[in-house]
Protein backbone atom coordinates (compact mmCIF):
# COMPACT_ATOMS: atom_id res chain seq x y z
CA UNK A 1 0.00 0.00 0.00
CA UNK A 2 1.33 3.45 -0.91
CA UNK A 3 1.34 6.40 1.41
CA UNK A 4 -1.98 8.21 1.89
CA UNK A 5 -2.22 11.74 0.49
CA UNK A 6 -2.13 14.57 3.05
CA UNK A 7 -5.65 15.70 2.14
CA UNK A 8 -8.83 13.79 1.45
CA UNK A 9 -12.48 14.33 0.55
CA UNK A 10 -15.05 14.26 3.34
CA UNK A 11 -18.77 13.88 2.50
CA UNK A 12 -21.55 15.34 4.62
CA UNK A 13 -24.05 12.48 4.30
CA UNK A 14 -26.90 14.74 5.45
CA UNK A 15 -26.37 17.05 2.49
CA UNK A 16 -25.57 14.36 -0.07
CA UNK A 17 -28.37 13.55 -2.52
CA UNK A 18 -26.55 10.49 -3.94
CA UNK A 19 -26.62 11.87 -7.48
CA UNK A 20 -23.29 10.28 -8.37
CA UNK A 21 -21.70 13.36 -9.91
CA UNK A 22 -18.64 13.00 -7.68
CA UNK A 23 -18.15 9.36 -8.67
CA UNK A 24 -18.49 10.38 -12.30
CA UNK A 25 -15.74 13.01 -12.15
CA UNK A 26 -13.31 11.45 -9.65
CA UNK A 27 -10.12 10.74 -11.59
CA UNK A 28 -9.04 7.90 -9.31
CA UNK A 29 -12.39 6.12 -9.06
CA UNK A 30 -12.38 6.70 -5.31
CA UNK A 31 -15.99 7.78 -4.90
CA UNK A 32 -18.67 5.22 -4.37
CA UNK A 33 -22.40 5.70 -3.83
CA UNK A 34 -23.39 3.56 -0.87
CA UNK A 35 -26.79 1.89 -1.41
CA UNK A 36 -28.24 4.97 -3.12
CA UNK A 37 -28.02 6.94 0.14
CA UNK A 38 -24.72 8.85 0.25
CA UNK A 39 -21.30 9.07 -1.37
CA UNK A 40 -18.19 7.75 0.32
CA UNK A 41 -14.58 7.97 -0.85
CA UNK A 42 -12.27 4.97 -0.57
CA UNK A 43 -9.53 6.42 1.62
CA UNK A 44 -6.68 4.57 -0.10
CA UNK A 45 -7.73 5.87 -3.50
CA UNK A 46 -8.60 9.48 -2.65
CA UNK A 47 -5.78 11.88 -3.47
CA UNK A 48 -7.60 14.96 -2.16
CA UNK A 49 -7.65 16.71 -5.53
CA UNK A 50 -11.03 18.35 -4.82
CA UNK A 51 -12.49 17.80 -8.28
CA UNK A 52 -15.54 16.13 -6.71
CA UNK A 53 -16.07 19.05 -4.31
CA UNK A 54 -16.04 21.49 -7.21
CA UNK A 55 -18.72 19.53 -9.08
CA UNK A 56 -20.98 18.49 -6.19
CA UNK A 57 -24.24 20.39 -6.71
CA UNK A 58 -25.27 19.96 -3.07
CA UNK A 59 -21.97 21.32 -1.68
CA UNK A 60 -21.73 18.14 0.38
CA UNK A 61 -17.97 17.61 -0.04
CA UNK A 62 -15.07 19.31 1.69
CA UNK A 63 -11.42 18.55 1.20
CA UNK A 64 -9.69 18.34 4.56
CA UNK A 65 -6.28 17.54 5.96
CA UNK A 66 -6.26 13.90 7.07
CA UNK A 67 -6.35 13.51 10.79
Amino acid sequence: MGKLSPRHAVVDSNMCVACGTCADVCPTGAMEIVSGVFAKPTEEKCVGCGICAKECPASAIRVEVRS
Binding site: C19, D24, T28, P57
Partner: protein, 195 residues
Protein backbone atom coordinates in the same frame (compact mmCIF):
# COMPACT_ATOMS: atom_id res chain seq x y z
CA UNK B 1 -4.56 12.01 -14.08
CA UNK B 2 -6.13 8.83 -15.39
CA UNK B 3 -8.59 9.36 -18.25
CA UNK B 4 -11.90 7.77 -17.44
CA UNK B 5 -13.03 4.97 -19.71
CA UNK B 6 -16.10 5.77 -21.80
CA UNK B 7 -18.97 3.31 -21.91
CA UNK B 8 -22.13 3.17 -24.03
CA UNK B 9 -24.18 4.59 -21.15
CA UNK B 10 -22.13 7.79 -21.14
CA UNK B 11 -23.96 8.74 -24.33
CA UNK B 12 -27.49 8.38 -22.98
CA UNK B 13 -27.79 12.19 -22.82
CA UNK B 14 -28.62 12.00 -26.52
CA UNK B 15 -31.93 10.42 -25.49
CA UNK B 16 -33.03 13.77 -23.96
CA UNK B 17 -32.71 15.43 -27.35
CA UNK B 18 -34.40 12.54 -29.17
CA UNK B 19 -37.30 12.47 -26.68
CA UNK B 20 -38.18 16.15 -26.98
CA UNK B 21 -37.74 16.06 -30.76
CA UNK B 22 -40.06 13.07 -31.14
CA UNK B 23 -42.75 14.79 -29.06
CA UNK B 24 -42.52 17.74 -31.44
CA UNK B 25 -43.42 15.44 -34.32
CA UNK B 26 -45.97 13.12 -32.76
CA UNK B 27 -47.24 13.60 -29.22
CA UNK B 28 -47.73 9.87 -28.69
CA UNK B 29 -43.95 9.52 -28.30
CA UNK B 30 -44.36 11.42 -25.03
CA UNK B 31 -45.47 8.14 -23.46
CA UNK B 32 -41.81 7.06 -23.63
CA UNK B 33 -41.25 9.52 -20.78
CA UNK B 34 -42.68 6.87 -18.47
CA UNK B 35 -39.33 5.08 -18.81
CA UNK B 36 -37.81 7.90 -16.73
CA UNK B 37 -40.43 7.27 -14.06
CA UNK B 38 -40.28 3.47 -13.99
CA UNK B 39 -36.57 2.69 -14.32
CA UNK B 40 -35.38 4.70 -11.28
CA UNK B 41 -38.11 3.06 -9.19
CA UNK B 42 -37.16 -0.41 -10.40
CA UNK B 43 -33.52 0.23 -9.42
CA UNK B 44 -34.49 1.74 -6.05
CA UNK B 45 -37.18 -0.75 -5.03
CA UNK B 46 -35.59 -3.82 -6.61
CA UNK B 47 -31.93 -3.10 -6.06
CA UNK B 48 -31.87 -0.54 -3.23
CA UNK B 49 -29.66 1.76 -5.29
CA UNK B 50 -29.67 4.93 -7.36
CA UNK B 51 -27.97 3.35 -10.33
CA UNK B 52 -30.37 5.18 -12.63
CA UNK B 53 -29.14 8.57 -11.34
CA UNK B 54 -25.57 7.38 -11.02
CA UNK B 55 -25.26 5.85 -14.47
CA UNK B 56 -28.25 5.80 -16.79
CA UNK B 57 -30.16 9.07 -16.43
CA UNK B 58 -30.17 10.97 -19.71
CA UNK B 59 -31.09 14.25 -18.02
CA UNK B 60 -28.32 14.12 -15.44
CA UNK B 61 -25.84 13.44 -18.23
CA UNK B 62 -27.31 16.12 -20.49
CA UNK B 63 -26.84 18.70 -17.72
CA UNK B 64 -23.24 17.56 -17.16
CA UNK B 65 -22.44 17.66 -20.89
CA UNK B 66 -23.98 21.11 -21.42
CA UNK B 67 -22.82 22.58 -18.12
CA UNK B 68 -19.33 21.12 -17.82
CA UNK B 69 -18.20 19.98 -21.25
CA UNK B 70 -19.83 22.70 -23.33
CA UNK B 71 -19.21 25.12 -20.45
CA UNK B 72 -22.63 26.78 -20.29
CA UNK B 73 -22.82 26.79 -16.50
CA UNK B 74 -22.07 29.90 -14.45
CA UNK B 75 -21.35 27.53 -11.50
CA UNK B 76 -22.75 29.81 -8.83
CA UNK B 77 -23.38 28.35 -5.40
CA UNK B 78 -26.99 27.26 -4.92
CA UNK B 79 -28.86 29.00 -2.11
CA UNK B 80 -29.10 26.87 1.04
CA UNK B 81 -32.92 26.76 1.00
CA UNK B 82 -32.82 25.01 -2.38
CA UNK B 83 -30.64 22.27 -0.92
CA UNK B 84 -32.79 21.95 2.18
CA UNK B 85 -35.14 19.08 2.93
CA UNK B 86 -38.27 21.30 3.06
CA UNK B 87 -37.80 22.48 -0.53
CA UNK B 88 -36.70 19.08 -1.84
CA UNK B 89 -39.61 17.15 -0.31
CA UNK B 90 -42.08 19.98 -0.97
CA UNK B 91 -41.15 20.07 -4.65
CA UNK B 92 -41.38 16.28 -4.85
CA UNK B 93 -44.93 16.31 -3.41
CA UNK B 94 -45.95 19.14 -5.76
CA UNK B 95 -44.45 17.38 -8.78
CA UNK B 96 -46.17 14.07 -8.11
CA UNK B 97 -49.45 15.86 -7.38
CA UNK B 98 -49.12 17.35 -10.87
CA UNK B 99 -48.37 13.90 -12.28
CA UNK B 100 -51.49 12.42 -10.68
CA UNK B 101 -53.47 15.38 -11.98
CA UNK B 102 -52.41 14.38 -15.51
CA UNK B 103 -53.80 10.89 -14.88
CA UNK B 104 -57.01 12.42 -13.49
CA UNK B 105 -57.48 14.74 -16.48
CA UNK B 106 -56.84 11.82 -18.85
CA UNK B 107 -59.54 9.89 -17.00
CA UNK B 108 -61.95 12.85 -17.37
CA UNK B 109 -61.24 12.93 -21.11
CA UNK B 110 -61.64 9.15 -21.35
CA UNK B 111 -64.99 9.41 -19.56
CA UNK B 112 -66.07 12.18 -21.94
CA UNK B 113 -66.58 14.57 -19.02
CA UNK B 114 -64.00 16.92 -20.51
CA UNK B 115 -62.73 17.50 -24.05
CA UNK B 116 -59.12 16.98 -25.09
CA UNK B 117 -56.70 19.91 -24.91
CA UNK B 118 -54.31 19.81 -27.83
CA UNK B 119 -51.71 21.97 -26.11
CA UNK B 120 -48.53 21.70 -24.13
CA UNK B 121 -48.54 23.66 -20.88
CA UNK B 122 -45.14 24.93 -19.80
CA UNK B 123 -44.37 25.80 -16.17
CA UNK B 124 -48.00 24.99 -15.32
CA UNK B 125 -48.97 28.38 -16.81
CA UNK B 126 -48.16 28.96 -20.47
CA UNK B 127 -50.13 27.05 -23.07
CA UNK B 128 -48.30 26.40 -26.32
CA UNK B 129 -50.24 25.21 -29.36
CA UNK B 130 -49.06 21.70 -30.20
CA UNK B 131 -51.96 20.47 -32.35
CA UNK B 132 -49.88 19.35 -35.37
CA UNK B 133 -48.54 16.48 -33.30
CA UNK B 134 -52.00 14.99 -32.86
CA UNK B 135 -54.30 13.47 -35.44
CA UNK B 136 -57.93 12.57 -34.92
CA UNK B 137 -58.37 8.85 -34.60
CA UNK B 138 -56.09 8.51 -31.61
CA UNK B 139 -57.99 7.50 -28.49
CA UNK B 140 -58.54 10.88 -26.76
CA UNK B 141 -57.36 9.89 -23.26
CA UNK B 142 -54.20 8.35 -24.72
CA UNK B 143 -53.41 11.64 -26.45
CA UNK B 144 -54.40 13.69 -23.38
CA UNK B 145 -52.00 11.75 -21.17
CA UNK B 146 -49.27 12.26 -23.78
CA UNK B 147 -49.86 16.05 -23.84
CA UNK B 148 -49.82 16.12 -20.04
CA UNK B 149 -46.68 14.03 -19.65
CA UNK B 150 -44.85 15.98 -22.35
CA UNK B 151 -45.80 19.23 -20.57
CA UNK B 152 -44.40 17.90 -17.29
CA UNK B 153 -41.21 16.62 -18.91
CA UNK B 154 -40.67 19.88 -20.80
CA UNK B 155 -41.38 21.99 -17.71
CA UNK B 156 -38.92 20.03 -15.58
CA UNK B 157 -36.33 20.16 -18.38
CA UNK B 158 -36.65 23.97 -18.53
CA UNK B 159 -36.19 24.26 -14.75
CA UNK B 160 -33.25 21.82 -14.91
CA UNK B 161 -31.56 23.81 -17.69
CA UNK B 162 -32.13 27.10 -15.85
CA UNK B 163 -30.55 25.61 -12.72
CA UNK B 164 -27.65 24.26 -14.81
CA UNK B 165 -27.02 27.67 -16.39
CA UNK B 166 -27.02 29.57 -13.09
CA UNK B 167 -25.74 27.07 -10.54
CA UNK B 168 -23.55 23.98 -10.88
CA UNK B 169 -24.27 21.76 -13.90
CA UNK B 170 -26.24 19.09 -12.07
CA UNK B 171 -28.03 21.36 -9.59
CA UNK B 172 -31.41 20.05 -10.74
CA UNK B 173 -30.39 16.69 -9.26
CA UNK B 174 -30.48 18.24 -5.77
CA UNK B 175 -34.24 18.77 -5.95
CA UNK B 176 -35.23 16.42 -8.79
CA UNK B 177 -38.42 14.67 -7.62
CA UNK B 178 -37.32 11.28 -8.96
CA UNK B 179 -33.92 11.65 -7.33
CA UNK B 180 -35.48 12.64 -4.00
CA UNK B 181 -38.00 9.80 -4.16
CA UNK B 182 -35.44 7.14 -5.02
CA UNK B 183 -33.04 8.34 -2.32
CA UNK B 184 -35.93 8.18 0.18
CA UNK B 185 -36.69 4.60 -0.89
CA UNK B 186 -33.00 3.68 -0.66
CA UNK B 187 -32.77 5.24 2.80
CA UNK B 188 -35.74 3.16 3.93
CA UNK B 189 -34.07 0.00 2.65
CA UNK B 190 -30.57 0.85 3.86
CA UNK B 191 -29.04 -1.33 6.53
CA UNK B 192 -25.70 0.12 7.69
CA UNK B 193 -22.93 -2.45 7.71
CA UNK B 194 -20.19 -2.44 10.30
CA UNK B 195 -16.75 -1.97 8.81
Amino acid sequence: MKKQQRHWYHYLWIWSIIYFSLGFVNILFAWLGLISFCLPLIFAIGGGNKLFCNRYCDRGQFLRVMGSQVGLSLRREMPDWMKGKAFRYGFMVFFFAMFFNIIYVSWLVGSEIQGIQEAVTVLWTFQLPWNWTYSAGITPWVAQFAFGLYSLMLTSEIIAIAAMLIYKPRSWCVFCPMGTLTQTICKAKYVPTTI
